[in-house]
Symmetry: C2
Subunit: 425 residues, 2 copies
Amino acid sequence: MEKSYSGYLEPGYKPRDDLVALFYLQPGRRVSFNEAAQAVASESSIGTWTDISTLSNSLKRKLHARVFSLNRKSRLIEIAYPKELFEEGNIPQLLSSVAGNVFGMKEVRNLRLLDINFPNSYIKSFKGPKFGIQGVRKTLRVKKRPLLGSIVKPKLGLDEKQHAQVAFQAWAGGCDIVKDDENLSSLKFNNFEKRVKETLKMRRKAEQITGEKKAYMPNVTAPFNEMMRRARFVKKAGGRYAMADIVTVGWSALQDLRDADLGLLLHAHRAGHAAFTLNEKHGISMLMVAKLARLAGLDQIHVGAIVGKMQGRRQEVQAIGEEIEHSLIRSGKKQHILSEKWLHVKPMLAVCSGGLHPGKVPPLLEAMGNDIVVQMGGGIHGHPLGTMHGAIAARQSVDAAMKKIPLREYAEQHKDLQLALRKWQ
Amino acid sequence: MEKSYSGYLEPGYKPRDDLVALFYLQPGRRVSFNEAAQAVASESSIGTWTDISTLSNSLKRKLHARVFSLNRKSRLIEIAYPKELFEEGNIPQLLSSVAGNVFGMKEVRNLRLLDINFPNSYIKSFKGPKFGIQGVRKTLRVKKRPLLGSIVKPKLGLDEKQHAQVAFQAWAGGCDIVKDDENLSSLKFNNFEKRVKETLKMRRKAEQITGEKKAYMPNVTAPFNEMMRRARFVKKAGGRYAMADIVTVGWSALQDLRDADLGLLLHAHRAGHAAFTLNEKHGISMLMVAKLARLAGLDQIHVGAIVGKMQGRRQEVQAIGEEIEHSLIRSGKKQHILSEKWLHVKPMLAVCSGGLHPGKVPPLLEAMGNDIVVQMGGGIHGHPLGTMHGAIAARQSVDAAMKKIPLREYAEQHKDLQLALRKWQ
C-alpha cells in the first residue's frame, strides 16, 4: 500500500507561490510518520489510496502537494500545495481540499489543521471586511477605548418589547453595542422583524439620552434567502449591524452575505466551533476559523475571553487577536502560526465574550489591548441592581482600566462597580 | 457558581412534544456529573453562567430544558427542550442552540451530540428529499440492484475533455453514476461549465452504447449564488444531479439549494465531517449529520464503506444507513440512537465510498443491503487494464453478489473481475 503515497515528500523544498498548510499529525496504527504525512498530502491534493491508470507522471509532477518539513518530535508537518489546486474566492472548495477527507483516513489517528499561509493571489481574490476595526470605531464614534458590548439575556424567552427594554437598559448604562444571543432568530414568542423595530426604537432613545452612538446586532442566522431578507430588513429599518453564527450557517452563505455589500457591519458569532477546535490534537484550530472569517469579510469575531467561562488558553487567544488585527503576521513556532501578508484585507475586531464581568476587565485589556469589544451578558444583567447598573459598572471598569486605576480604588467612588465586584470576586 | 445551573434536572420527566437530544458527557475538572449535565441544559436553552435579573421564574419554568435521564456509568444524558426554543425550518438555529456554545464550556471536558429526536411539528417544517431512493432508482431505471458509482480520478489535474473521457470509460464499463471529487469545482485547468458540457456529451454517448440510463454528478460547491448559478447551468445542460460538499458549504446554503426545487437530484459529499465526528467522546456524530441532511432534503449521502480506506465502524455505518432509509426508527441503546418518525420525509440513499474495490462488494452488500450506491474511485481506475475494465470488473462483482455466487467462482468466467481480485486481494 505504501507505493501509492510515495513521491509526496520533498524535504528542503522552498515554497514560493504555494499555499502552505501546517498540521499536527499522529499516524494511525502500523503507519510510519513519513507515510502518514504523505497520505495527507496525497489525499488533500491529487492522490488516492491506490495507484491509478489515469494519473500520469507529468501531471503528478505538476500538481502534487509536497511535505517539505516534518518534525517527528513535535509531530508538526508543513505541506506546500500548488496554487492551481484551489479555486480563488471559494472557501468551501479550499476546506474540501485541505480540511476534507484527511481527517478520517485510516493512516491518521489524529490530525489538526493549525494554520494556512495563503499566496498573494489567493488573498487578492477576496474582498475582506468592508469596515473592519476603523469602520466600527467610526460608526460608534469611539476613538481609543475598548468598545463595551452586551448580549440580551436570557438568551431566549423575552418577547420583543422586553428584549428592547433590556437592550435600552444596557445602552443607557454605557454599552456601545447590544446583541442577540446565538440561538435567537425568529421565534413564536419573539418575531425577528418586530424585535428589530422595537429594539432600534430603543436604540434611538438611548442615543438621545446619552449623546453617544449605539448599535444593535440582530441575529440573522437562517437559511440563505431568509438570512438575506432579514439582513436587508435590518438595513432598511435603520440598523447598522447584522450578526450571524458562522459555524452553523456555513461558509457558502457567509461569503455572499459579505459580498452583497449591504452596508451593514457584520458580526461573527462562533457557536459550535469547539466541536472541532477543542481537542488540541485533532480538527481545525480556532485561529484558522478566525483567519477564514477575515478573508470572507466579516468585521468582527468572537475569539475567547481568556478569563471567562469558555475554554481558550491565553496564548491562543492572543495569537488569534493578532492574526485578525495585524497586516503582517510573523510565523511563531510556539503558537503554531505561519506568516501572512494580509495585503488589502482590513483588520477585523476581536470580540471577547463568555463569562466576563467588571472584575475581569483590567487583566483582559492587559492581555488583548484596546482594540476589542468587551462583551458581557451575565456580567451585566446579573448585577444586583439590574441591567442598567450592571452596564454602568461595566463601563466604569473600562474607564478605570483606561485610566490605569486599580478597580478596588476606582470602586470607592463608583457604587455600581463596587456592587459588581462584591458579587463576583 | 452551582446556583445558576440548578433547576435543569428533572429525572423521570416524560417528554411529549419536546425536542430530545442525546449527549455523551464527561464533566470538566472539579465539576460533578449532575452539575455538568445541568450546565449543558442551561447554556443550550435559556441560561448563562450566573443568575440574572432579567430571567423570571415563570419564564424559566416555561422554557427551560430538562435533563430527564442521566447515567453516570455510560456517561449518557438525555435533555428535553420545549419546542418553542426552535425556529421551524432553520437548521443553523437548531445547531446554534443544541450544538453551539456547549462544546466549549469549562464545565465540560468532552461532549458529543449523538442524536436528536424531533417533534412532529419540527419534522413537518422541512420538505425533505424531493426524490429520495425511489427517485434515484426511477431516474436510472434500476429496480433492485445496488447502483454502481465512480469518482473521476485523479481528483484534480485532468482537463475537461480528459475528465469526460474517464467518465465515459466508467459508464461504458457498467457504472450508473460518475461524480466529480470533493475538491473539483471550477479550476484554471478544468472549467466548470466546459466540464459539464463535455461530460454530459459523453454521458449521452454512453447511454446510446449501453442502452442504460447514466448520471453525472458535477460538484457545485461554491459561495451560494455561484453554487446556484452552477446548479441551474447543470439543469439547463441536461444534467440530472448536482453534488455539494455539505460540511464545507454549510447548512444555510444547503437548505436553499434544496428548496429552490431545481429538479436535480442532490448528492451530499461529507468531506470534513471527521474533524468533529471522529472522536467518539466529543463533537457531533455522523448519524446526526446524516439525519440533518435528510431533513434538509438531500437525496443521497456518503455514510462510510465499513470495509474501505476511511474510519467508520460497522455498527455505526449500519445505523446511519437505517436512519436515512427507514420511515420509523426505533431507539437503540447500543447504537446510541433515539427513535424517530420521519412522517412525509422520503428515504435517502446511502452512498458507500472510500477505498472500495470489487473484492469488497459482497461483504458490503451483506452489511448494507441493496439500497446503496457502491462507489469506487481507485478501485476502478486502478484496474490493471484501465478505467473501463475496472468498471466492468466492479459491475461483475455487483452481479455476482446479486446472484449469490462467490467472487472467486464468478471470476473464473469473468476476466476483468479476475484481474481486479488479483491486484487487490
